[in-house]
Amino acid sequence: MNNKDFISVLSAKTGYSSKEASQMAMDIVSVITNELTEENTVGITGFGTFEVKKKLERVLVNPATKQRMLVPPKMVVSFKPNTGLKDKVNGK
């Protein structure tokens, strides 16, 4: 399911036109992005939690060339599905 399919399903479900639905979906995404940028956790009941995790810098070695690289620290978005969603996925 790509973005286009997603929007069409969403618009059918909510009764908005696909243009409106697309616009509002983008708004939701931007709101979530902003919240995550401020290191807030976004928890959606029945779906899951989005949070930002800090990754420490680390050294990795290219096994082929034995070259060592220093990977800088970074912030990563992680998603943890809810138990409800997990169960759904597993067909329970």
Binding site: N3, T33, E35, T41, V71, F79
Partner: protein
């Protein structure tokens, strides 16, 4: 910061943005996430522009061990949801660290500091360096601590310097065994350590220890002096004062280096040919002023005599005619030519005097060097 945002908050923001009812917005957000979960179940993959990709991944059965009981268990296969953020979201979130880039580490780069930060190597074990003698491992650290503290005190510095000087003396004086010195040193150290542990204020303890340690050091210096004097009295009659020696030694090294650099052979320098020696000594004394001077004032009074005494006596030649001529090439120097022609450095001064070189250290390319025939006297 670090707060939790719920669906209702998202709905509120959405409502404010689009000018719709809060209730409608909430319904929409709910529908948004519902659609995602339905999509995951249906197509196993949902892509949302600017946000990311949700995927359902099947995990196969695998065997594992119960950590508590040690029992082998089989974790049944299941599906899990993975979320890969879009590059847009990724970059946005990682903006504070965006300027960092992955770097290739050169070989030999030490990562000890990093490991310390990670907590992998919490306690560096540097003690073996200091392990002088049967001192318990805690003692050197105390001593070190104190030393660093002493460094902070301006007045204490002289004492520390004395301590530093001793190893130099010992190196120069092979007669006086290192082991005995080490024992002495360890005694001093342990004594210091004992006193530091005994007295609460380390600063005070240092001041009480200071004089006694200085006395010990002086005693050590005297032992070095006496042994050196008695054992070396046969060979080193020229020794006026043993204190000159350790300080003299590095200087002599520098002198020879200097002399070699200036194409003046050390043998000629050592043996005689009074004129050239004097000129060299003159140059030396000018250089000595540039050299970092040790503290003892007697240094300049004894220029190079100990070395003169230590070298074996040279072979004496006389000049009987001329055997040839060499022209100085690029990269040649007089000592090199002499070594090639005569096989000994002793001949150099004869060559210099035979050619009447006023400045043998600086012969231009193309200069003809007359080679005298030498005969052992």
């Amino acid at each position: 910061m670090e707060g939790k945002v719920l669906l209702q908050d998202l709905a509120q923001s959405l409502a404010a943005k689009n000018g719709i009812q809060r209730k409608d917005a909430e319904t929409f957000v709910r529908a948004f996430f519902e659609t995602i979960s339905e999509g995951i179940l249906q197509d196993k993959i949902v892509k949302i522009k600017g946000f990311g990709t949700f995927k359902m991944i099947d995990v196969q059965d695998r065997e594992s061990v119960n950590v508590n009981t040690g029992e082998r268990i089989i974790i049944p296969g299941h599906s899990k949801i993975s979320f890969t953020p879009d590059s847009e979201l990724k970059d946005q979130v990682n903006r504070p660290f965006a300027l960092f880039q992955t770097v290739v580490i050169n070989e030999g780069t030490s990562l000890d500091d990093m490991e310390k930060v990670d907590g992998v190597v919490p306690v560096p074990s540097e003690l073996p360096e200091d392990s002088v003698a049967p001192i318990p491992p805690t003692v050197p650290t105390i001593h070190q601590e104190e030393e660093s503290k002493v460094d902070a005190f301006a007045d204490g510095i002289t004492d520390v310097k004395k301590e530093e000087q001793i190893p130099v003396i010992i190196k120069d004086e092979p007669v006086c065994g290192d082991a005995s010195f080490m024992q002495e040193e360890s005694k001093v150290q342990s004594e210091v350590a004992r006193q530091t542990t005994a007295v609460e204020h380390k600063k005070h303890s240092w001041w009480y220890v200071g004089p006694s340690m200085t006395a010990l050091l002086f005693a050590l210096l005297w032992i070095v002096f006496l042994t050196g004097y008695f054992i070396g009295s046969n060979n080193w009659l020229n020794f006026g004062n043993i204190f000159d020696k350790p300080i003299q030694y590095p200087q002599v090294e520098i002198d020879t280096v200097y002399v070699e650099k200036m194409i003046e052979p050390d043998s000629a320098y050592i043996k005689g040919l009074e004129d050239s020696i004097r000129s060299v000594i003159k140059q030396e004394s000018t250089i000595k002023k540039e050299l970092p001077k040790p503290q003892t004032p007697q240094v300049t009074q004894v220029p190079a005599k100990p070395v003169v005494a230590e070298k074996k006596s040279p072979v004496v030649y006389e000049i009987v005619g001329q055997k040839g001529v060499r022209t100085i090439q690029w990269g040649d120097y007089l000592l090199k030519i002499v070594r090639q022609e005569y096989g000994t450095d002793d001949a150099l001064r004869y060559v210099i005097s035979y050619n009447k070189f006023t400045d043998p250290n600086n012969l231009p390319v193309g200069t003809e060097v007359k080679l005298p025939k030498l005969r052992v006297k």
